[in-house]
Structures are given as structure tokens and as C-alpha cells.
């Protein structure tokens, strides 16, 4: 197979507008002292900010108007998530957006009507896909659902379910009669002890182990508008695109944070940014960031294109994770002794890059998938 490696990039007026608004909003609502104050907060985010961003219509961006949305696409969500990432903003925006896309892709019109208008208005949701096997292949699952009259009875455990506690409902992947299925699990159907908070490397996240044993839901909660395998593949790419955007934004502010220090800290009587041992890797981080940003906006632009969308998205995720990991690693090192402390923000970025990289396949895994797609 011969392929074109050109890719393409474009930028809509709506993207430009959202980029500007989101940048201002996130800077104002999520300064770093706020981020730090939320690290110890049980919910990990400010509900007032959540209400505001729901009012701004951000949850509705990529939902069609007939289901209460604005009717734009994920390309317009990308600048918003990028700016949230830039400000290390916590909260269930990414999870909720992915849950909405899961229902849009896999649900029936009735399911979309039942869930999406509320979601657009600010009801958080999340997806529960990962299991203890650690497999990035989402179709490999051991959780099951079995029929019991008009109900489904679930069993098994999901792990690393981001924002499960704030979500009003979860999209849960299970094996049903030997095939993959996605089931809407309303919060109230979960047992009292179903959620167990996990300690995760990125302290701005809220992540849970979800025990499904004994959960009963109505059989009409199965997403039945498309095959679950297709919807899972879609979810994987949507999440990858948004994580790439988030990491790209994080890389930008990590570089800013480091450069500020290089311009103010003196050693041996000179600003440390004048030393090439620090200056040159800072430039390498900048170049990696610019490459990541180009990949991210190219992926946003071509996300829905058959074939090319997946290639662009996997490239974006691989590059964004690589760029943020490098920038944050150097950020810690270049802050010297202070970099080793909890008070230095460099660790926030480094921890976040690990989270993003580990979700839905790290950079090496993305390259492996890309090789299979391209060669």
C-alpha cells in the first residue's frame, strides 16, 4: 500500500473563538494555587466552575442540536481541552465529553434523547472500560452481563474509571452472551461500596475502581445503535484526541514555567538560562511542543476522515505524550533542589504526562499501531 504522509491542518472560526474564550476562562478559573488547593479536595474540582462551563455550552459543543447540543464537532472541543490542560484544570469535562460521544456513536435515538440534553446542561458522565489485565485492547474484557428476565445482571470490576464518583451514569463495557456490549449504568444502580477511590499518579484526577457485581439494569440500557466493537474503537480515538490536546496544553505551560525560572534564577553569578546545557534542551522541548501542537490540530481537523483520522490521532497522542514527558522531566531537573520538592509545579506536569501517556496506549504503543496502519 502506498500512502500519503502529508496530513492536513485547518482551523475554523469557531475553533478560534473557543480557543480565545477558553484561554481566558481557564486562566482565570484555574490558576495554579487553585489547582493545588483542589489536590486534597475529595471531588477534585470546583462545582461552581463546572456550572459555568456548562452554561458556556462547552459540554454541548460536539452534540447535535436535536439532542440539545450546539452541533459543532470534536475539532471545536480540542481548543477547549487544550486550554484546560494548559491550566491543569481538574473535573469531569473530558470524561463527560467522551461519554457523550459514546452514546452518540453507539446509542439509539431514544437513548440519545434520554441522556444527552441533560448532559449538555451539565450532568456529568463517564466511561468504565479498563480492567485489571491492563490490556489497551478494549475488546478484551472479563466483566460480564447476563440476562435475568428484562434485566441485566453485571459482574466484574473496572479500574481506572476517571470521574466515576461525580458521574450520573457510566458507559460500561462488558461481555454479553459472548459479544462485547456497552451498557449505561446509572449511578443509583451501583452498590453502596461499588466505588473505591484509587491513588493515581496525577493528583488532579479522581479515579475509581468500580465493582459491578450484582448491579442490575434494565435491558434497554444496552447501547444498541451500533456494534460495541465499533463504538469502543471510536471511544478510544475520541479519548486519545482529547488527551493529546490536554497534554499539548500542559506542555505549553510547563515550558513557560521552566523558562520563567531559567530567566530569573542565578548561579555562579549568571542567569541559568544563559547556560547552554539548560538552554538547548529547553529549545528541544519547544520544538517537540510545536510538533505536538501541529499534530493535535491536524488530528482535530481530520478526525472524522476515514483512515486518516486514526493515523492523525495516534500521531497526535504519541507526540503530545512524548513532548510533555520530556518538557516536564527537564522542568524538574532544571529547577534543581527546588524541582525535587512538592512545592515545585514541575511535578504536577510530570505526573500528568504519565497519566495521559498510560491511557489508551502510550507513545510506543501508538507507533506500533501506526506501523500496522501504514505499512
Amino acid at each position: 500500500m502506498t500512502f500519503s504522509n502529508n496530513g492536513s491542518i485547518g482551523f475554523s472560526d469557531e475553533q478560534a473563538e473557543l480557543l480565545e474564550v477558553a484561554q481566558r476562562f481557564c486562566r482565570e478559573k484555574s490558576p495554579v494555587d487553585k489547582v493545588r488547593s483542589l489536590l486534597d479536595d475529595e471531588t477534585g474540582h470546583d462545582p461552581a466552575v463546572w456550572s459555568e462551563l456548562a452554561e458556556l455550552g462547552w459540554l454541548a459543543i460536539a452534540v447535535p442540536e436535536e439532542f440539545g447540543g450546539v452541533g459543532l464537532s470534536l475539532a471545536e472541543v480540542v481548543p477547549v481541552v487544550e486550554q484546560m490542560g494548559r491550566s491543569l484544570m481538574g473535573g469531569p469535562f473530558l470524561s463527560t465529553t467522551v461519554a457523550a460521544q459514546a452514546v452518540l456513536h453507539g446509542g439509539t435515538d431514544a437513548q440519545k434523547n434520554a441522556l444527552l440534553p441533560d448532559l449538555c446542561a451539565g450532568t456529568p458522565a463517564a466511561v468504565a472500560l479498563m480492567e485489571g489485565s491492563g490490556d489497551w485492547d478494549l475488546t478484551n474484557m472479563s466483566c460480564t452481563a447476563s440476562r435475568d428476565g428484562d434485566a441485566l445482571v453485571l459482574s466484574g470490576t473496572k479500574v481506572l474509571v476517571a470521574d466515576a464518583a461525580t458521574a450520573a451514569w457510566l458507559v460500561v463495557s462488558v461481555s454479553l452472551e459472548g459479544s462485547a456490549a456497552l451498557i449505561i449504568v446509572p449511578k443509583e444502580t451501583l452498590g453502596d461500596d461499588a466505588l473505591q477511590r484509587e491513588v493515581v499518579i496525577d493528583e488532579t484526577r479522581r479515579s475509581y475502581k468500580v465493582t459491578l457485581d450484582g448491579v442490575r439494569v434494565s435491558a434497554d440500557q444496552v447501547l444498541s445503535g451500533a456494534s460495541a466493537a465499533q463504538t469502543l474503537a471510536h471511544i478510544e480515538l475520541v479519548t486519545s484526541l482529547l488527551l493529546a490536546a490536554e497534554m499539548c496544553g500542559g506542555t505549553a505551560s510547563c515550558i513557560d514555567y521552566t523558562v520563567d525560572y531559567l530567566k530569573t534564577r542565578k548561579q555562579f553569578g549568571k542567569l541559568i538560562g544563559s547556560y547552554q546545557a539548560l538552554k538547548h534542551p529547553a529549545v528541544d522541548a519547544l520544538i517537540a511542543y510545536e510538533q505536538a501542537r501541529s499534530h493535535v490540530y491536524a488530528a482535530a481537523h481530520s478526525f472524522s476522515a476515514q483512515g486518516e483520522g486514526e493515523i492523525a490521532t495516534r500521531m497526535a497522542k504519541a507526540q503530545a505524550a512524548t513532548a510533555m514527558s520530556f518538557a516536564a522531566d527537564r522542568a524538574i531537573q532544571f529547577h534543581g533542589g527546588f524541582g525535587f520538592t512538592y512545592d515545585c509545579d514541575a511535578q504536577l506536569y510530570r505526573r500528568r504526562a504519565f497519566w495521559g501517556d498510560s491511557q489508551h496506549g502510550d507513545s510506543a504503543y501508538q507507533r506500533k499501531r501506526l506501523a500496522d496502519l501504514m505499512f
Binding site: T2, F3, N5, N6, G7, S8, I9, F11, Q15, A16, L19, E20, A252, I255, V259, L262, K263, K270, L271, G273, S274, Y275, Q276, K279, H280, A282, V283, D284, L286, I287, E290, Q291, A292, R293, S294, H295, Y297, A298, M315, A318, Q319, A364, R367, K368, L370, A371, M374, F375
Partner: protein, 402 residues
């Protein structure tokens, strides 16, 4: 002409395609240089000079330059189309690289009317080949410390000293020359002036330099009481550094205004993909090896990102905070990438990576092996990658000077 219609563009493209299909030379029977820095023989030189002249005469080089100076006065989009067609037909490089890409745009930008009238047309036609006299044996990266002297004597300047890495120095008619006119200036930069020096002046001699590939392409240029006319000074005396810095912006591709064509043919990463499919790596096609696949994808991503970034510079909202970031880092990123790609393409040949140009068993005549060695010309020339790091660090990130 402003805002050409799609129909006009389509017609132009059709004409250009037909012309290049008809006129692009076939294999001349000897190895053609892939870049302007590899012109090692008179045979190569004559061939390429004739080719450039022919392209220009047909209107496909400098179409975007003013008519009064030998161009066609068309919007740049036409020339870009012509250049694409030249590339599509696999046309050889334009030989007069320093004239076309650096000296020409510089003269259009900062030269006087008289200078433009005198030099530009013959740059396009390849009648006058240009070379560059910036680096010296003792002053490479520290260009501002150049010590070649120029002393005014009546109507002439008397030049003494030596310049090095003079690409096509043995073929050139003119040199853009940075020389010290005032050794006592308050700073080393203010003592420099910029000249458009005729290479046939008495007292100028060139000696070929043999490159690491074993081939030729550069000279060292010696000035021994060389006398050049007084009007060779470009700009004001003492402003040479400013003019030289502008020249380097053209050289590094950070500033547009070139007359089209290309002075290097870059191997494309897709050629490496094809190579990986056929090359035998430890008993199997290289493309089946997991580590080779991983590295190849990384290179594809990097190659694509540079194209995307170049397109992104046209999207203002995505360049607001550091508008110079992509333009100023592209030389560093692209030259290091080309080197890595050639190195990888050599390595994935397995045992055959050991062959070199001249051996019958060398893959594609050893083009990647030689390409790797030659790629250093770009990571060193025009400001080394280390200097580029300083430039980006200081001018884009705002870090203090090293």
C-alpha cells in the same frame, strides 16, 4: 496581476507540466549533485547551469520577481506551481543557489536600484554564479569576529585574508563578502562591512577543499592585496553585520522572497519506507523488524509535523504567543531530521550498510551513505545546530545570551 482565478492557475499549471515533461533532462550518464554543495566537476557544473538557464528562459524560475530584473512579475502562487511541476518531473537542482536564495532576495530587499539592475537578471539566468564569503578558518560560528580586512584605497577596496567553505567558489563570478573595514570600531560587529565582490579581481585565488565524502564542492578563498571597485560596498560602511544577518535569515529559510525552484532535492521519507520494504535486515525485509518499524514511524511523524507546522504558520490564532517559534526553529529541526533519516536509511540496509559509493553492491549506488555524510553540511553550515539552539532559545524563548 492580483488575485488570479482558479482557471488562470489551472492553465498555468497545465502549461508548466507540459513544459517540464518535455524538457526535463534524462539521465546524463554521470552522477548529478543532489544539492548545490555537491557540484564537484566541470561536467556537472556545465550541465546544471544550462538547465537553470533553460528553466528561467521558459519563465519557470523567478516568475514572481519583477519583470524589469528578468522575472515575470507574477504572484508567487504561479512560481510555486511551476516549482511543484519541476519537482514532479524530477528536474535537477538549480545550481545558482547562493544567488537565487540569498543574494538575490537580499538585493531585492536591501539593494539599490542600480545593484538590482546590475545583478538580478544574471542570477536568474545563471550567467553569474554567486558564492558567499562569511566563514573564516578561525571564525566559523563566531562570524561577528571575521578578520578579513578591507581597506579603502582611492576608488578601490583592498582585501586581505581568507574565507572558507566557499561553495562553488571556483565557479563563482561574485561573492557576498563580509569583511572588516574598521578594526577599531566600538564593537566587533560595527567594524564589519558587506561587499558584492567580483571573483575575477586580481589577488583572489580559490583552492578546492575535499569533503568528508571524498568529493569536492567547496573552496577556500584567499585574498592577497585583492583590489575590488569602490562601489562594491553594499549598504553603509560599518553596517555589514546587519546585512549579513538578513542574508542568514534568507539562508535559513526564515524569510521568504525566493524566486522558486529548488537548490537541494530532499529525499522523502516515503522513499525510506520503500527502502525498508526491500532492504534485507538480518535475513528479513527491514520493515518486518519491530525496532525498525518503531523508528520509521517516529521519522514519519516528525516529517509530517514539519509540513503541518509550516502550514500552521498561516493560521494566526495558533501562533499568537511565539510567532517566530516555527520559522526560527525550522532550520534546526529539518536539518537534524534529514541527517537522522539518512543515517536510519543507511542502517536499515543491514550488512549492505557497509558499502559505499562506487561499489556495485551498494544499495542505490550508496546514495544514503553519501547523503548522511553530506547532511552535516546543513547541520553545520548556515549556523550550526548548536548556534540555532542559541538563536531559538534567545529570540523565541527570551533566554539570556550564552
Amino acid at each position: 496581476m492580483s488575485n488570479p482565478t482558479q482557471q488562470e492557475l489551472d492553465e498555468y499549471r497545465t502549461e508548466a507540466r507540459a513544459w517540464f515533461t518535455e524538457n526535463t533532462p534524462k539521465d546524463p550518464g554521470f552522477m548529478l549533485p543532489l544539492t548545490f554543495m555537491e557540484v564537484g566537476t566541470q561536467q556537472q557544473f556545465d550541465f546544471l547551469r544550462e538547465w537553470q538557464n533553460k528553466v528561467w528562459a521558459a519563465g519557470y524560475l523567478g516568475a514572481n520577481w519583477p519583470e524589469q530584473y528578468g522575472g515575470r512579475g507574477l504572484p508567487e502562487v504561479f512560481q510555486n506551481l511551476a516549482t511543484k511541476e519541476m519537482s514532479r518531473a524530477g528536474g535537477p537542482i538549480m545550481i545558482n543557489a547562493i544567488g537565487l536564495s540569498w543574494a538575490g532576495p537580499l538585493l531585492l530587499d536591501m539593494g539599490t536600484g542600480e545593484e538590482r539592475a546590475r545583478y538580478i537578471k544574471n542570477i536568474l539566468s545563471a550567467e553569474d554564479i554567486w558564492c558567499q564569503g562569511f566563514s573564516e578558518p578561525e571564525n566559523g560560528s563566531d562570524l561577528g569576529n571575521a578578520q578579513t580586512k578591507a581597506v579603502r584605497d582611492g576608488d578601490e577596496w583592498v582585501i586581505n585574508g581568507s574565507k572558507i567553505w566557499t561553495t562553488q567558489g571556483n565557479f563563482a563570478k561574485y561573492m557576498i563578502l563580509l569583511a572588516r573595514t574598521n578594526p577599531d570600531a566600538p564593537t566587533k560587529y560595527k567594524g564589519l562591512s558587506f561587499f558584492l565582490a567580483p571573483m575575477d579581481a586580481p589577488g583572489i585565488e580559490t583552492t578546492p577543499i575535499r569533503k568528508l565524502t571524498g568529493e569536492y564542492g567547496f573552496t577556500q578563498t584567499f585574498f592577497t592585496d585583492a583590489r575590488i571597485p569602490g562601489d562594491c560596498l553594499m549598504g553603509e560602511e560599518g553596517e555589514g553585520w546587519k546585512v549579513a544577518m538578513r542574508t542568514l535569515e534568507y539562508e535559513r529559510g526564515a524569510r521568504g522572497g525566493q524566486p522558486g525552484g529548488y537548490v537541494m532535492t530532499y529525499p522523502d521519507i516515503t522513499q525510506v519506507v520503500e527502502l525498508a520494504k526491500t532492504a534485507n535486515y538480518n535475513g528479513k525485509p527491514a520493515i518486518e523488524d519491530p525496532l525498525i518499524r518503531d523508528e520509521l514511524v517516529a521519522l514519519l511523524m516528525e516529517s509530517r509535523s514539519m509540513r503541518l507546522s509550516s502550514a500552521r504558520t498561516g493560521i494566526a490564532p495558533l501562533n499568537q504567543e511565539r510567532p517566530l517559534s516555527i520559522p526560527l526553529s525550522s532550520k534546526l529541526a529539518s536539518t537534524e531530521f534529514m541527517k537522522h533519516m539518512a543515517e536510519f536509511a543507511t542502517r536499515l540496509q543491514g550488512t549492505r550498510a557497509a558499502y559505499y559509493v562506487g561499489d556495485v553492491d551498494a544499495h542505490e549506488h550508496g546514495i544514503w551513505q553519501r547523503g548522511y555524510l553530506n547532511s552535516f553540511s546543513a547541520t553545520i553550515g548556515g549556523g550550526t545546530s548548536e548556534i540555532q539552539h542559541n538563536i531559538v532559545g534567545e529570540h523565541v524563548l527570551g533566554l539570556p545570551k550564552s
